[in-house]
Symmetry: C2
């Protein structure tokens, strides 16, 4: 059974049938637009587009994995503002020949990731295309707090990270060489587990700037350095390369510190804090903010790396 | 000069360079997510995906046209809830070989359509794909009013429409036969002019149900009939086929009433109102709500028509 067997309206009925009621929705999916309650007079919004074979591969990830990861990527941007995810809108373009089972799996992954943050799928669109394309828009709620932007880092601030670094990159490297294990790194690539609630926590204790690590630690801290007009100095010995990454790096002949510094897709959060702040114990200090520009590791410029589409 | 000459980050810099400040944005584009002010504790949200050669053709429409129409389509859903558009998020996937001039034109059309409703472009995403795909998410503000949903029509209500019907369909028919005139209908197809502010007005006078005509009058009223569990009776003589559509219909040997009843893409608004309501003079009564189901024209079932993707 394929998407075109069901047709557009049948497909819409199918993907909306299993949706849990959206806790924050005044008007849920199925109308011209959704209406979402906000706890203050603001809403946080971010959008992403994912294209098959560029952002995901159907032979490397199940449909559930793709759903989990797409929602994680969208919600991670909300967390990076110091907000909590409140709702998700999902656009989906696919060839008519696509198996319905894949769509069911995708929706299952999206729903499960939404359930973890009590956000509902409140709207969407389906259409035909030659390649699978997903458009995800996440909405979020600041609950009275201040948004944490890229431009607030000040010289003297502490740089700290929460969540994993380099695991998804190690998994990607393993899959790229035709392996399917170690399962820990492959799973990290397939289903990242962003620390959603830690963004709010960092905001509450006074984070001055924050972002999520989607392009790589150095690349994403580069955005904070540029927007805040500061330099960021990282200490390699604080980055704590886990034994598992050393093991995989040894097997593939790759320095695992490269994965930690340049790998995206784990969706860790990285933020700057005034020195007086007592960091939550889930956050690890990894460097300091200084006068200047760019990002240095142990005093040296590190090539930014990160993924460049269109190249 | 093409998209890949500039690269991902150059392209982002280029498309964000000319953005006017977003009037409702607390945090505008360029951060992990945008923060948009709402005038009450709610936000309206709708998302659409448009695929080249399915939703638009580059030989039929300029890039500016595509931008105008994509934003119009997104904002029309907001108006259909009785809200005003407040912000737009734009995702864009394209081949690296795409000329930058086309992207500039697209952005120019999107910006101009946004300016007409004082909404800002507050965020987006760019990525590579074989085909041009646009993902548009519109946000809107109810300004303290009640959302007008699909399910509130009651037997005895008046059905009324605001905006044009059949013009874009006539333009599409003309273009499909290789003509480029009459300019009025071709322009209607390329750049619809939805009556954005009339949605709010209809809500204010007490509309019981409302939607925008994107699939065709009969198809879209069918959604109201189904959600409200009522029948909708239209009077063909109230539908007022304009002389220009008669002229084009005559030339193409098409009954222009078919365009009026089944053509989408003009983004008219259609709503139901209690009989006691004095309709604003911009709204034309075209029928009545009755007990029963479905949509009838002069007492007969009309085949729904409308566009079905995946077929």
């Amino acid at each position: 059974m394929t998407v075109s067997d069901l047709g557009e309206f049948g497909l819409i009925a199918r993907v909306t049938a299993d949706l849990e009621p959206a806790p924050n929705a005044v008007v849920g999916p199925g109308d011209d637009a959704a209406v979402i309650a906000t706890s203050d007079h603001r809403v946080v919004a971010s959008t992403d587009m994912l294209v098959e074979n560029r952002h995901f591969r159907r032979d490397w990830s199940t449909a559930e994995d793709v759903g989990h990861k797409a929602a994680a990527r969208a919600f991670s941007d909300i967390a990076a503002m110091g907000a909590l995810p409140s709702a998700l809108l999902v656009s989906f373009a696919a060839p008519g020949t696509l198996e319905l089972g894949w769509v069911d799996g995708l929706m299952s992954g999206l729903r499960a990731e939404c359930a973890g943050v009590e956000a509902g799928i409140v709207g969407g669109d389906v259409t035909a295309s030659d390649t699978i394309v997903l458009g995800l828009t996440a909405l979020g709620d600041l609950d009275g707090g201040n948004p944490v932007t890229l431009d607030g880092a000040r010289p003297g601030d502490i740089v700290a990270v929460c969540g994993r670094l380099g695991w998804a990159a190690a998994g990607f490297a393993v899959l790229g060489r035709g392996f399917r294990s170690p399962v820990q790194v492959v799973t990290a690539h397939r289903r990242p587990e962003p620390p959603y609630f830690e963004g709010r926590r960092a905001a509450a204790v006074g984070a001055t700037a924050m972002t999520d690590v989607s392009d790589g630690l150095v690349a994403d801290l580069g955005h904070i350095a540029a927007a805040s007009e500061v330099r960021i100095d990282l200490r390699a010995d604080a980055l704590d390369v886990p034994a598992k990454l050393r093991e995989v790096g040894g097997a593939l002949n790759v320095d695992p510190l490269v994965w930690v510094l340049t790998g995206g897709d784990d969706y860790a959060l990285v933020a700057t804090f005034p020195r007086r702040v007592e960091l939550p114990d889930t956050w690890r200090p990894i460097g300091l903010v200084a006068e200047g520009e760019g990002v240095r590791v142990d005093g040296r410029r590190w090539p930014v790396g990160g993924h460049e589409h269109f190249r």
